[in-house]
Structures are given as C-alpha cells and as structure tokens.
Symmetry: C2
Amino acid sequence: MLSAISNNEVVVLIEGSVTLPKGFKAGGMHCGIKRKRLDLGFIFSEVPATAAGVYTTNTFQAAPLIVTQESISKENKLQAILVNSGNANACTGEQGIQDAKTMQKEFASMLGIEQYLVGVTSTGVIGELLPMDSIQSGIKQILSKEHEDEMKFKQAILTTDTCTKDVGVQLKVDGKVVSIGGAAKGSGMIHPNMATMLGFVTTDANIGSQDLLVALKEVTNQTFNMITVDGDTSTNDMVLVLANGLADNEVLTKEHPDWSLFVKGLKMVCETLAKKIAKDGEGATKLIEVQVNNAYSVPAASAVGKAIISSNLVKTAIYGTDPNWGRIVSAIGYSGVPVEPNAIEVSIGTFPVFKNGLPCPISEEAVKEYLESENIQIFVDLNQGESCATAWGCDLTYDYVKINASYRT
Amino acid sequence: MLSAISNNEVVVLIEGSVTLPKGFKAGGMHCGIKRKRLDLGFIFSEVPATAAGVYTTNTFQAAPLIVTQESISKENKLQAILVNSGNANACTGEQGIQDAKTMQKEFASMLGIEQYLVGVTSTGVIGELLPMDSIQSGIKQILSKEHEDEMKFKQAILTTDTCTKDVGVQLKVDGKVVSIGGAAKGSGMIHPNMATMLGFVTTDANIGSQDLLVALKEVTNQTFNMITVDGDTSTNDMVLVLANGLADNEVLTKEHPDWSLFVKGLKMVCETLAKKIAKDGEGATKLIEVQVNNAYSVPAASAVGKAIISSNLVKTAIYGTDPNWGRIVSAIGYSGVPVEPNAIEVSIGTFPVFKNGLPCPISEEAVKEYLESENIQIFVDLNQGESCATAWGCDLTYDYVKINASYRT
C-alpha cells in the first residue's frame, strides 16, 4: 500500500473500511432484534481515540444520541462504538435513556474499559422500546472471535439498505502513512441536515479533538449534509470519527503543513459514503448529482442544489427518463434564492436545456438515452457570483412507495 | 335558494360554481393543445368586475401571470378570464409574453371590451411555446352558444386532475343575497405558497378592490397556502377573484357589519376548493388533514402542519395504512419550530398515539382500520400557546410515481 502513496500530495482511495487504520477491529452478529439479519455491531480501538461527532438537527434526538454526546463531552474520547439496527430507541422517554446507558455500561464491562468510552447508536423503527434481553445477550457474545469481521459490522448496521457501504483512503502526514476508513448506512428519511444515516469514520491520525471536530463539521456540510433521499430528517443520525493516533504523526493542527491534505482525505471518505447512501436511497435506481456554479454564496448554491435534488417531480422525471427540465427550473425558482431567471443556464449531462430564459433546442431522444444511465449529472450556472456546491440524491420510484407503505407490517 | 339563508348570520353551501353569482357566464372547448380533452375555457361578467389576485412565489413566474398582474394593476378590474390547459407558457421568454398578450387582445376583441379587462392564465407543461394557431382559432369559436357551459369551463382547466372542482355559497349582506362561486384545478406541483393550481372565484358582492385583496390574502393563507401534494411550488399558479357588484349591497368594507360574514363565505369557498385539490393530488387515494393546536404562533402551527403533510414518509405510511406515528413525531422535530418534546400530544383520528414523550398503548388493528378511511385526521397539540392551523394533503402512492415518471411521454 505504501508504494501507492509515494507522492506526499495525494490521497489514495483503496480497498478497506473501518478496520483499515491501525489498531481498530470491528464485528457484527444477529442478536434477535430483527428476524434473521445481523442487528448488532461494534468498533473497537486498541487505545482510547480522540472522538468527534455531528448529530441530527431534529428536535427529537433519540436516546442513544443524547447518551453518546454526553459521554464524548467528558474527555472527547471514545474507545468503542456499539450499534444496533432494527429499533431506533427514539421517542422512548426515560426508559430509552436507561436502555442506551445499559448498552453502554454492559459493553464497557465486557471490554474492561470505562463506560463513557463507549458510544452507542441505534437505527430502525421509532417509538418502540429496545428488546433489551436480546441486546444484553448479544453484548455478552459479540466479542467472541466468530463475530469479529468488519463485513459483519457493515451488515449489522443496515436497515432497508440493499448493500453495505464502505471506503478507505490513505495519505501521508509527516511522511507517515495515515489511513482513514469509513462505513455507513442509509437509506430512507435522508435529508440535510443529517439523515437516517449513521456514519462511522476511523483513522490512525494523531489529531486534537477540537481540530478533528472542525474538520468533521467542514466536511459534513459539503458531503453528508448535501444528500437527500426523501426530505425527511431523522431523529437518530450521526457521524462519529475516532482518531487513535497510532500512525504516530506529529499532531495535526490547522497550522500543520499536511492539514489540508488530511481534510481532503476526510472529505473523500465522507463524500464517497454520502454518494453511496444517496445511490442506495430507498427504491432508487439512479444517483443524481446536481452541481450549482457561480452562485453569490455557498449557502445559496447549496439551497438551489438541495431544492432540485429534493423535488419529487425532478426525481420521478429522472426515474421515467423524461427530459422535463422545466421541473428543474421551477425548483430553482422556489429555492428561496434570489436568482436572475434570464441569466441561468441548465444542462442535463452534456446537453444544455435552458439558457437566456428560453429552452435550448435538444434531441429529446439523446437526453432520454442519457437519463437511462445509473449516474445522472445536472449542472446549473447561476451566473451571479463565484460560489459553488454539489448535492446528491436519487430518483423516486414505485419501490420507494412500496418500501415505505409497509415498513413495519 | 333564498329560503335556505333566512338567517342573516350563516353562510350556506349550495350547488353551483363560477356562474352561481349574478351576471357571470363560463364555457370551455377543445382547441387542439391537448389531443382530445377540453383545453380552452373562459369566464365573462356582464359588467367589469373588481378584481384581486394572489400569485405563485416561484421566481420564474410564467408569462400569463406577468401579463395578468400588469392588466389588473391598471384599474383593479377584469371583465373576463381566458384559460388554457396543456401548456403552461412558462420559461418561454419574450415570445411567451407576446403570446399571452395576443390571447388577451384577441379574446378582448371578440368580446368587444378593452384588452386590459381580460385576465389570461395557462397550465400544463413548462418550457414549450404555446401552439398559437390552435389557441387563436379557439378564441374565435369559444363564445358560440354550444361552448357556453360552466361544466365545460371546469373541464377545460384540468391537467392531470381526475375530477372537476367547484363550490358555491350564499350569504346575506344588508339583507341581500350575495353568492360566491369557485372552480379550481390541481393536481401535482402543489405546495405552499400557491401551487400548480388555478383558482377562480366569482361573486356578485359589491366590494372595493383593496378590501377584496385583503380578504383574499387572509383567506388564501389559511386555505390554498395550507395544502401540499408534493412540495413543489409551480411557476404558474394563481387565484383570481372577480366581484361584479350585481348583488347590489352597500359596498363591503372592513367596517361593514357583514364584513366578517363575507370573509367567512370566501373562506368556505377557498377551503372547499383547496381540500378538493388536496384530495385529488396526483395518484392520491386519501385526503389527510393535520390540525395543529396550542402553538405559540400561527406561523409556528402552520410550519408544523406543513412539515407533517409534506413528509413522504408520513404520506406513504398512510397510503399503506401503517400507524407509524414515529414519522409524524419526527416531522414535528425537523419542522424548524422550537417545541418541547415531552409536552406534545399526537392523535391519529380519535386514537392518542404519543404523549409525555412516550408512545401511547394503541390497538394497531383499530388504527389500521381507521387509516383505511378516505379522510384521515391527525391532531397535534404542542401545549405551548394558543395558536392553531390546519393543513391538508394526500397520501403518496404508486400512481404518483407513475403519473410523474411519464407526464410528457
């Protein structure tokens, strides 16, 4: 792997997940929350790791988020994360808080570490108490060798996802190889900010907690907060980063010459996971990328991108390979961003469709053929400034309705 | 009809539409924009009527909206309205403006009235020029007796609507019978504020233009702006009210003793049309009504109601008769309104589902059975003030996807 990153300026994408960085292991098992599939997973670092998290903006934060934030706030450290899927432990009152603490305490005891060094997260149905018997019995078994497998971890965190999502990158800091790995789950209730989405990022970089949080926030705003599946923002979701320092680099700060390279690597990890989540949105058949250029500010560019990517009409048109660019223009118009209609240019892939306030002559057939691709790009040029943003989403299909009309039953 | 409104304090709902008030006629025909269905309609008042309008907030206002607003601004009068469906004349640049003016001019000439007394509106596909030959040939024929029929008017304004939408009410002002009638079309791209929605309200009340506009704005905010089908706000939509004064009442002002009764009547007309639009949302099988009570302000109550009614997850759950109230609570949580989670109470129909931060014990079967009704009510009590609001929407179904994946093709 070292040879691949001989250049100090690059970030290399490689096979790997949360166990790519030194000193991390992960695993998963079936403990009985779901009928058959894996539903309990963990990540563990040999040594306590610097931790940073970003959390859902939903007022109803689920119990595990409250407990995990409280724990991180003690020393900005975590050494382990325990995740269950199948039940979100959200809207579960005081009992939910107790259950999250029990998960934390019992897993800490199995690991022989302090309780506050364990982060807990849950995803799944809202408003039902956790089946604590199953979870407690799972906690007792999950550290046995047969369950230690990062593939099982990635599977154990899924809900309606159709595939696991991971990524690994490497870069050099002070000439030393630093690895960053990640795993995530989607796949409905995905909307900025944060979503029914759990993201776990591990790295062996040596970095302080405040700088790690700064980097995470900056990167999250450009990646996880730029994806939407259905406009719903979940009660549960968070991204946690653990940095255990085993790469043995000089501590990364904003003044470190390799700071921007590290942020670039972190962004590559988060962007890859975010796009995988968008592409695997419930019922989705296509990844849609909207690039907005020349806006007067980044928030303006983001708002336009999100309006387009969130439009049910745009999403269904793309599902139906219908080059109905009028819906894109209409979404720009209601985005809340003051725009100059006659200055805007819109392209679908390489096909300009709207310019100077007028439709461009297009070959409907050619655009239709392009819309049959799995990855669709929409470009918007607002011609009013120099800021840009990219948003990702997916098409809206029969299967989205099917999955969500019968999620629990 | 008089006997039905012997009581001066009531508004009576009666059969009727835009031709219920004295002095109005309406009609519709097929001019050739659509393949077969009616696509050109008109309303005409014997005498010039006081006019008021509310318009889409979309930055890309379609050409006919610009032309009609300009005309109304002259004297706050209209005597006729010409509507076409099948083509929205939106994103059509200078040519679109010219086409809208040509429609206006030629219809005015057929009627022998001033051009600025004709309002023009269009609905349908965005970004294609109007087929002016068909429309101009239609304008020459539409005033013939065979096309004069308010049912044909209601049909001519539809796009993907599955049914016509109308309403009539009567009330007494100064002891004189005043009628208010309305017709509207939906049915996708419906979201506050305004929507792919055209609303036409006629009345024989005698009222000044400024007071009419005040009443219309107040009522629109509580009715048309509280419905959503898919969260998309269209480029085209407007509600126009024409008041021709033929009821011969003393001019209505805010000081008139029957002012609030008139506003109540206007609200009944707009609310009925708004609910019919929501219920006939693309692919919808159910009307959903969300009542939010005891918010700290009306905008807060509205924001919570709209967040719930706009949630794809709530909409699919109701389609699937899944009592997944967690999605309702989650939508409240991301509405942007500061709420106290433990103070909130949520009921689906008569079934309390969430209280004191916890799920209520429910009979899943009973709630499921309730969710099979055509009209679903959701009640939210925020317990933090005294303001309330009601929002309306519809479920999200396979047919919504089907209709919108292939709207043009």
